[in-house]
């Protein structure tokens, strides 16, 4: 052993880095939403490590993700293996996930650690000085403090200096300007005092200021990055494979490598990945994301198919005409992002406070300096007082209070299944006074339930037999609605694309499908047996679980719900009646939704928009605050402030209540900080502020503010 290291960290760090390099790029990353305990980790890792081709597998329980390392790993085999031990796994697009290493966050933590180390050492010396160390001892302690503080302040304060400098360069003022000024002036003046044998040094104040503010900065960063990575995970879950037809065979191909002119096979129940032209004779497609209408659309050969539509019928073939960013879906999504920028003009609470606070602090410090120079003509004494004023008024509350409350609130909401995407979302949610709900996909779930009491036993058996043979969502809903019926013995079962199912039962032709196809007077689903008239099988959309509770809760909070839907008048009215909503608007287009919402906002309302379709995206972006379910399209989720991760809506009112208390607690924190200032500023102005008083005022206010922020965890 020739190398001698100064500390264990220096020996261990290179080893750790090597370890990290080995694991630089996992071959496959999967989302495992159901893992929750040590047994799960053990089971999953043991299973995968035993699989051929897998070098290693590691579960991250915080992110609920599994990274698999190794060459030639087939995602499908891994998914199947996990399924066999009872875990649902969803492959994630590694390219879309952010690089795993959060360098900015680590950087802040390192600075925080250095600031904490320096602060505690300097504080030890300061306590000795405050207890009455004099003469040479005091000077020695001051010098050691200076030796520790100078490099520490210069290193740890960099995030603030950089931000302040970028504001000053464009002749602006932000919160970091008074912060940087206080830190630098306190250090500089203390250094001058120490070199001239002065009694007061503010090294501990400068360091603890840096320490507390770095905590705020780190909390702020942590919240944002964890929310961002959760949102990234949602995006990475999107469709990434399509069936491309090559030499007559369907080959699984990543969507990103599709080009115009490719021929694709779209299986039943799958989202169309790109825009194109229909090559098969017929197709049945769900366009509800575009129009909001729940009924399926029949397409004929040669007609346009758009990315995002869901194939409800038999598998069909299509030729791609627009891929990637050129698809209608992406273009609309892009427009929405542009529209979103207009909302970014919303100034958050901390910024509004900073605009008043920053100039006031500077003026106060400058005024005290001038006043003391005029009173006793001692420039050094006057500068001392000005620095004390700056330290005491330094906006710890602004830098710490708001991030602390937001972190606690966003963490709590994430646990409840709400992904809060935007930093100002909670403040805006707290202000809403009207809630607008989209119907299809938001209040109701895809698929449906049928009321089939009027069927005879034989009819039910035939319907079930026919439905069982098809993968169509409507058929599947029908099978669920007929749990007890035995299925009839059918022969020659065939699926007529776009129309329904057909078979022979006891020598008679039986059909299950669209009313028009059966020659009936209704449009909906029907059953026809031989020459008898067709029987209608009315399918209802199922409301999401907890919708009643959610809407009642909103009413109690003074946020009356309304329903805006592109669906037919009758369907919307039926649901509204069930849920007790009076205010409904049916059969309206995306533009009309947007106009209606803008009108409400112009009347002074703060509108909360909840929706999932492409016809809602403009409204989601324009609303004061917006929520989208995780089943929504990418574009809608991007436009929304909050994404609902659970299907259940029970906790929806809690979202508003937590948002309101977040806002209230932030304001309380400002008040607490202002209270400390109200006591300490006069003391500082009169010249009685010693470094001890400054340290106590600052730490006490920071700690009170953090403790107060924690109360958001107990909101019910």
């Amino acid at each position: 052993m020739t190398m001698v290291a100064a500390c264990p960290g220096c020996v261990a760090a290179p080893l750790a880095l090597k370890h990290a390099e080995n694991h630089a790029a996992p071959a496959v990353v999967l989302s495992l939403p159901t893992i929750h305990c040590a047994a799960c980790i053990g089971k999953v890792e043991r299973k995968l490590n035993a699989m051929p081709g897998v070098d290693s597998a590691r579960v991250n329980l915080s992110l609920k993700q599994l990274s698999v390392y190794g060459d030639a790993i087939d995602t499908d085999i891994i998914v199947a293996a996990l399924k066999s031990i009872g875990y649902d796994a969803y492959p994630l697009d590694v390219g879309l996930l952010e690089t795993r290493q959060d360098t900015v966050g680590r950087n802040l933590l390192v600075r925080l650690a250095v600031a904490g180390f320096a602060m505690m050492n300097v504080m030890l010396f300061s306590v000795a000085i405050w207890s009455g160390a004099t003469d040479t001892t005091r000077e020695l302690f001051h010098l050691i403090s200076a030796a520790i503080s100078l490099p520490a302040v210069l290193y740890c304060g960099q995030p603030f200096f950089a931000s302040a400098w970028s504001a000053l360069r464009v002749r602006g003022l932000n919160m970091d300007v008074p912060i940087s000024l206080a830190i630098l002036l306190a250090t500089g003046m203390s250094l001058f005092e120490v070199l001239n044998g002065g009694a007061h040094a503010y090294f501990d104040a400068a360091l603890s200021l840096t320490f507390f503010l770095l905590i705020g900065r780190y909390l702020d960063h942590h919240t944002r990055s964890s929310v961002r990575s959760a949102a990234k995970e949602l995006a990475a879950l999107e469709v990434h494979h399509a069936q491309r037809i090559e030499d007559g065979n369907a080959v699984k191909t990543p969507v990103s490598s599709l080009i115009v002119g490719d021929r694709l096979l779209i299986p039943s129940g799958v989202r169309v990945p790109v825009d194109g032209r229909l090559d098969s004779a017929q197709a049945l497609s769900d366009r509800s994301f575009l129009t909001g209408e729940s009924a399926a659309v029949t397409l004929a050969k040669g007609q346009q198919v758009q990315a995002g539509e869901i194939n409800l019928g038999a598998p069909f073939e299509m030729t791609a005409t627009a891929v990637g960013d050129d698809t209608t879906l992406r273009r609309v999504a892009h427009l929405v992002e542009m529209a979103e920028n207009s909302r970014n003009s919303y100034t958050n609470l901390a910024d509004r406070a900073a605009r008043i606070y920053a100039p006031a602090v500077h003026l106060l410090a400058f005024a005290s300096f001038v006043a003391w120079v005029l009173v006793d003509g001692d420039v050094r004494h006057a500068l001392n007082i000005a620095v004390a004023v700056l330290i005491i008024t330094c906006p710890c509350a602004l830098g710490l209070a708001v991030p602390a409350v937001a972190t606690a609130a966003i963490g709590r909401l994430y646990g409840l299944g709400f992904l809060v995407k935007s930093g100002t979302a909670l403040e805006r949610l707290a202000e809403v006074d009207v809630a607008i709900f989209d119907k299809t996909g938001t209040l109701t779930l895809a698929g449906g339930s049928a009321r089939l009491d009027h069927l005879t036993g034989e009819q039910a058996a035939i319907a079930r037999g026919l439905a069982q043979a098809s993968d169509h969502p409507v058929s599947r809903a029908l099978v669920t609605a007929l749990p007890d019926a035995p299925s009839a013995t059918l022969v020659e079962i065939s699926e007529i694309p776009g129309n329904g199912m057909q078979a022979v039962y006891k020598g008679e032709t039986v059909k299950l499908g669209r009313g028009t196809w059966l020659g009936a007077s209704f449009d909906g689903l029907g059953l026809k047996i031989g020459g008898q008239p067709a029987v209608e099988l009315p399918l209802h959309e199922t409301p999401r679980q907890g919708v009643d509770v959610a809407l009642q809760g909103l009413r109690d909070l003074g946020v009356p719900p309304q329903i805006l839907s592109g669906d037919r008048q009758g369907t919307v009215r039926a649901l509204a009646q069930r849920l007790g909503v009076q205010d409904i608007h049916a059969e309206i287009s995306a533009t009309e939704k947007h106009t209606y919402l803008t009108k409400l906002q112009n009347e002074g309302h703060h509108v909360l928009m909840v929706g999932d379709g492409l016809n809602d995206t403009a409204s989601l972006a324009a609303a004061h605050a917006s929520v989208a379910p995780s089943s929504a399209l990418d574009a809608s989720r991007n436009a929304a402030d909050v994404v609902l991760l659970r299907e259940n809506l029970d906790d929806f009112p809690l979202l508003i209540r937590i948002a309101r208390s977040t806002s209230r607690l932030s304001k309380q924190n400002f008040a607490i900080a202002a209270g400390y200032n109200a006591i300490a500023i006069p003391v500082a102005l009169l010249g009685y502020a010693t470094p001890l008083i400054a340290a106590i005022a600052m730490s006490a206010s920071s700690i009170t503010v953090i403790l107060n922020a924690m109360r958001v965890r107990f909101v019910k």
């Binding site: 080893l15 750790a16 880095l17 370890h19 990290a20 305990c37 329980l61 915080s62 650690a113 180390f117």
Partner: protein, 51 residues
């Protein structure tokens, strides 16, 4: 007062060791999955496979 000349460097070095230790844990990714690390404590690696 001579005792100070020994105690002060000792206290600073001890603090510095703590700081180095923290930086090491940070660099080796020990804060990347706090929940997982807590759960892994319960895993028994020595247990033979049931299969």
């Amino acid at each position: 007062m001579n005792v100070l000349l020994i105690l002060i460097p000792v206290s600073i070095i001890l603090g510095g060791l703590g700081l180095c230790g923290f930086l090491w844990t940070l660099r080796s990714g020990q804060y990347d999955d706090a929940e997982g690390s807590a759960a892994r404590l319960l895993l028994d690696d020595d247990e033979p496979d049931e299969g």
